[in-house]
């Protein structure tokens, strides 16, 4: 079973071809979208994501959900890429990333489930 729109978007990072959606009025969004929640626009274009973003918030998770049990402890960050932000697991030793650090997106796998995970790797 796939999640149409989301899966294609996530896998584009594996080919280093990450993108976001921009509505006709310039609002940045992540797929799948039919309607812009900022302005109601229904027209979107795919725009290339900057190669790196800046960490805006970070936490080291010690008590995970069961689906990340074997991954813990790990860092999760929200990183600012200009038009949009991304949330991902940090591909580095926990506790080593700080707000203001640059990170780049990639696709990794959960050590617990093997499922694809959006990773953010320190640049």
């Amino acid at each position: 079973m796939s999640d149409a729109g989301f899966d294609e978007w996530l896998h584009a990072f594996a080919a280093e071809d990450g993108y976001y959606l921009e509505c006709a009025n310039g609002h940045g969004l992540l797929p799948p979208r039919r309607i812009c929640p900022d302005c109601g626009s229904t027209e979107f274009s795919e725009e290339s994501l900057p190669e790196s973003g800046t960490v805006a918030a970070v936490t080291t998770v010690h008590v995970p959900a069961p689906s990340f049990d074997a991954d813990a402890p790990y860092d999760t960050v929200v990183a600012d890429f200009g038009a949009i932000r991304l949330t991902g697991v940090v591909d580095a030793e926990p506790g080593t990333v700080e707000i203001g650090d640059d990170v780049e997106p990639a696709v990794g796998a959960s050590e617990t489930t093997g499922n694809d995970v959006l990773m953010l790797r320190p640049v």
């Binding site: 918030a57 010690h62 932000r85 707000i99 499922n115 995970v117």
Partner: protein, 392 residues
């Protein structure tokens, strides 16, 4: 439009009751509320009940008729689900129903049974209040999401990590102090600031004592029209004079602010306008402190503090029981407990008791006239605010 009074409130003990069914918990709260109100069973015209995760935690859907039956009711019944704000929304819609004149008596409240599951299962069930694609798949837990908000807050307002942790530990310690005399509270015991600071990390910078517990419990309130209260000579001296609700983007990453909760700003503005008050009129508040940082964000959204100034309120003593404006005199979610689908109703019940003078902590707010409740869903993608007043 008629005025709305709280005729009666009912609670179960909040705590670990793994062997008690959800239906039994709600029946106890409903019975307590009806006895407190002195309203006959047949006069109740509608049931609004909050429940978040019964379909996962109790393998029970279609909760409203089940809980109506348990409460002895034969009337239209609806379950409301808005994550941890489920009961807040149930109460809000009950207020609107009574106001509109469609019903004179509505029973509202909520229930959650949680400790019958292992903690990992419960954690996973609660996580569905976050965005499944963009947050859960990125390893975000609820403590993790609030930890992200806490670090963004510290960055936005130039707070160092030690100050952040110490101020948050003061929130936890305050709310435990408040819970000590509350017979319904899960943790009727004090914790020191140092104990909170020394607790094991859950999602840094949040430790175990920054997090509310897993709780079983139920809440119920009987809302009546002013006319019904007068006709039946009810002692219903607390009025619901404002209700507001706000919505934000589901995922933190899509919000304008990572360290503010605009959905609660909107809910407060709506409720205050209805009540004809502003933040300076608020004498006390019950807010949604699922994590200590959440209390800080709440009191800022309620306008009790400017953004960036709420963090130190507990440390400075301002929000303590003997402070200028007490927050979470019930013990809050942190120490009273957080049966998620029941919490919004519990806040109304506790505020009513505090304003009526029959709460163990009422003496701290003996002259209070205006109380505000703040109930949030997820990372405050949903928020409900109510204004309660001691009626003339």
């Amino acid at each position: 439009m008629t005025g709305v009074r709280v005729a009666g409130v009912g609670l179960t003990h909040f705590g670990s009751h793994p062997d008690r069914t959800g239906r039994d918990l709600f029946a106890e709260a409903a019975l307590n509320a009806r006895e407190d109100a002195g309203v006959p069973l047949d006069d109740i015209e509608q049931l609004n009940v909050g429940n978040f995760a019964g379909s996962l935690l109790e393998e029970q859907g279609h909760m409203a008729p089940l809980l109506a039956e348990a409460a002895g009711l034969d009337c239209p019944a609806t379950r409301y689900e808005e994550a941890c704000a489920s009961a807040g929304v149930a109460v809000r819609e009950a207020v609107r129903t009574v106001r509109s004149g469609e019903a004179d008596v509505v029973l509202a409240g909520g229930m959650e049974r949680m400790t019958n599951n292992d903690t990992p299962e419960t954690t996973e069930a609660l996580a569905i209040a976050a965005d499944e694609l963009f947050e859960i798949r990125a390893g975000v837990t609820f403590p993790g999401a609030y930890a992200l908000m806490a670090t963004a807050y510290a960055d936005a307002f130039d707070v160092d990590e030690d100050e952040l942790k110490t101020d948050l530990a003061n929130v936890a310690s305050k709310n435990h102090d408040n819970a000590i005399p509350n017979e319904y509270a899960q943790y009727q015991r004090e914790i020191s600031v140092q104990q909170a600071l020394d607790a094991p990390p859950v999602a840094e910078p949040l430790g175990l004592f920054d997090c509310c517990p897993v709780t079983d419990g139920a809440s119920a309130i009987v809302l009546v029209s002013e006319e019904y209260a007068a006709e039946h000579d009810l002692s219903a001296e607390v009025a619901v004079v404002g209700t507001g609700q706000g919505t934000d983007r589901m995922a933190l990453q899509d919000r304008e602010y990572l360290a503010r909760t605009p959905a609660a700003d909107d809910a407060a503005a709506m409720a205050y306008e209805e009540a004809g008050i502003d933040a300076t009129d608020v004498d006390l508040a019950e807010v949604h402190d699922c994590f200590t940082i959440a209390e800080v964000l709440a009191i800022e959204s309620l306008g009790l503090y400017e953004p960036g100034e709420g963090l130190g309120a507990a440390r400075r003593g301002e929000t303590r029981a003997d402070g200028k404006r007490p927050v979470n005199l019930s013990g809050g979610l942190k120490a009273k407990g957080h049966p998620v689908g029941a919490t919004g109703g519990s806040q109304i019940a506790e505020m009513t008791r505090l304003l009526r003078g029959d709460h163990p902590n009422s003496d701290h707010v003996a002259d209070a006239e205006v109380g505000v409740t703040h109930n949030a869903g997820g990372t405050v993608a949903s928020a409900v605010v109510h204004v309660l007043e001691v009626a003339e």
